[in-house]
Symmetry: D2
Subunit: 136 residues, 4 copies
Amino acid sequence: MLSAETEVRVRYAETDAMGIVHHGSYIPWLEVGRIHLLDTLGLPYSEMEKQGYRLPVLRVSLQYRSPAHFDERVRVMAKLETLPAVRFQIHYLLQRGESLLADGFTEHAFVGSDGYPIRPPAHFRERIKALWPKLK
Amino acid sequence: MLSAETEVRVRYAETDAMGIVHHGSYIPWLEVGRIHLLDTLGLPYSEMEKQGYRLPVLRVSLQYRSPAHFDERVRVMAKLETLPAVRFQIHYLLQRGESLLADGFTEHAFVGSDGYPIRPPAHFRERIKALWPKLK
Amino acid sequence: MLSAETEVRVRYAETDAMGIVHHGSYIPWLEVGRIHLLDTLGLPYSEMEKQGYRLPVLRVSLQYRSPAHFDERVRVMAKLETLPAVRFQIHYLLQRGESLLADGFTEHAFVGSDGYPIRPPAHFRERIKALWPKLK
Amino acid sequence: MLSAETEVRVRYAETDAMGIVHHGSYIPWLEVGRIHLLDTLGLPYSEMEKQGYRLPVLRVSLQYRSPAHFDERVRVMAKLETLPAVRFQIHYLLQRGESLLADGFTEHAFVGSDGYPIRPPAHFRERIKALWPKLK
C-alpha cells in the first residue's frame, strides 16, 4: 500500500443550505488528495499531462459518515491498495480529528493521445513498483 | 418503479482542462434529476424542508461511460426501484441522445429536526405507495 | 441594444450555509445568460470556438440586491448596449418575479489562435450590425 | 491599511475547457483570502457567525489580467484600505510569482439576526482600530 495525507480547510462556497458541506464539494477534495498522493510518489499529474497522458475518473463511490462544516480542517488520505493495472482504484479516508467524515474510492485508467485507455506508462509502473513496500 | 426525466444543458463552468465535463459536475446534475423526480411525485423537496425534514445524501456511486462536453444537452433520468425504507436509493441514467454518459445511484435517509435518521414521513410513504405501479 | 432572457432554477448545490445562494454561484448564471444571448443572435459560442475564437472574461462586476434561495426560478437577462469593439461589455439583470436580485456586467475580448486579443470576427460584427435596432 | 496573504493551489475542478482556470473559480479564492484576513486580525468569521452576525457579499468586482492554470500556486492578498463603515470594501491582489493574475474588491455589510444591515459590531470596530497603523 502507498498512501499520502493532506488537509483542506472548508470554504464557505463548499457549504449548502443545510448548514453543512454539500456532498458534491467532497469530489474536488478527493482530487486534492489524489494529486497530493501522485506528488508524494514523485509522479506529479501536471507532468503526466505534459507527457500526453491523462487519468480520467471512471467511477466515484463515496460514503458520507458525518457532516463537515465551514472552516473545519479535513484530512484527506489517499492510498493505492494494489499495483495499478489498466483500471485501478484509489481509496480515500476523510477525517476531522478522530472522526471519520467519508470514505470511498475513485477508479481510473490512463488515456493516451488517441483518447483510448492504455496501460499505465512504464515510468509510472516502475516508480510505483520501486516504492511498493512488499517489493522493496 | 417510479421515474422521471429532465434535461440539463452543459455550462462552460462545468467543463475542465481535459476539454470535457469535470466528473464532479455530474453530482449537481443527479440532484437536478432527484429534485425533478420528487416534483413529479407531488413531493417537492422544498416543501419537505419546510415541514422540517431533510434528505441528506449518505452515498454516491457513479460510473462514467462516455464524456460530456460544453453545450450538450444531457438527459437525466432518476428512478425509485424499490419502496423507500429508512435507507433508500435513487438510481440515475445520464444520456446524450442514445449514448449512455453515466449511471449510478445515491443513497438517502430522512433526517428529523433532531438530526437523526427517521422513517420516511407518512405523507411521503403514502404518496409513493399510491403511485407505485404494482400496488395500484 | 440587443438582449435575450432565459431562466435558471436554483440548485441546492448553489446555496450556502447562510441558507441563500452563494454569491459565487451567480457567475455561472451570467454565463448561461450570455450563451443564451449569443444563441439568440445566431452566434452560438460553441460554433465560435470551433472556428478558433475564444471569448474569455476580462472583468466581472456584480451587485447583489436581494438573496435568491433554493428552487426559485431566476430570470437572467443579458444585453449588448453598444456595438462590440475590441473590448466590450455584456450587461445582466437577474430577477425573481418583479424583484431585482442582482445586476452587473462582464467584459470580454475575442482571442485568436495565438492567444492575443483581436477585433471581433467579421461574421460576428456583421451579424450584430444586421440585428442592431438603430441600424436596421 | 491592514492586509494578509495566503496561497491557494489550483484544483483541476477549477479549470475549464479553455485549459485555464474558469473565471468563476476565483470568487471562492477571494473568500479564502478574506477569511484569512479576518483570522489574521483576530476576528475569525466562524466566531462572528456564532455571535449572530453575518457578512454577506453585496458586490464583486474583479479584473482578470493573466490566466492561471492547474496546479499553480496563487497568492491571494486581501486588504482593508479604509476603516469599515456600514458598507466597506475588501481589496484583493492575486499573483503567481511576480505576475498579477487578477485584482478587484468585494463590498460587504454586517447583517444582524433580523436580516438587516447594521454597523460593524463594536468588538469588530475596536479590534480594527487597535490594529490600524495610523491610529496606533
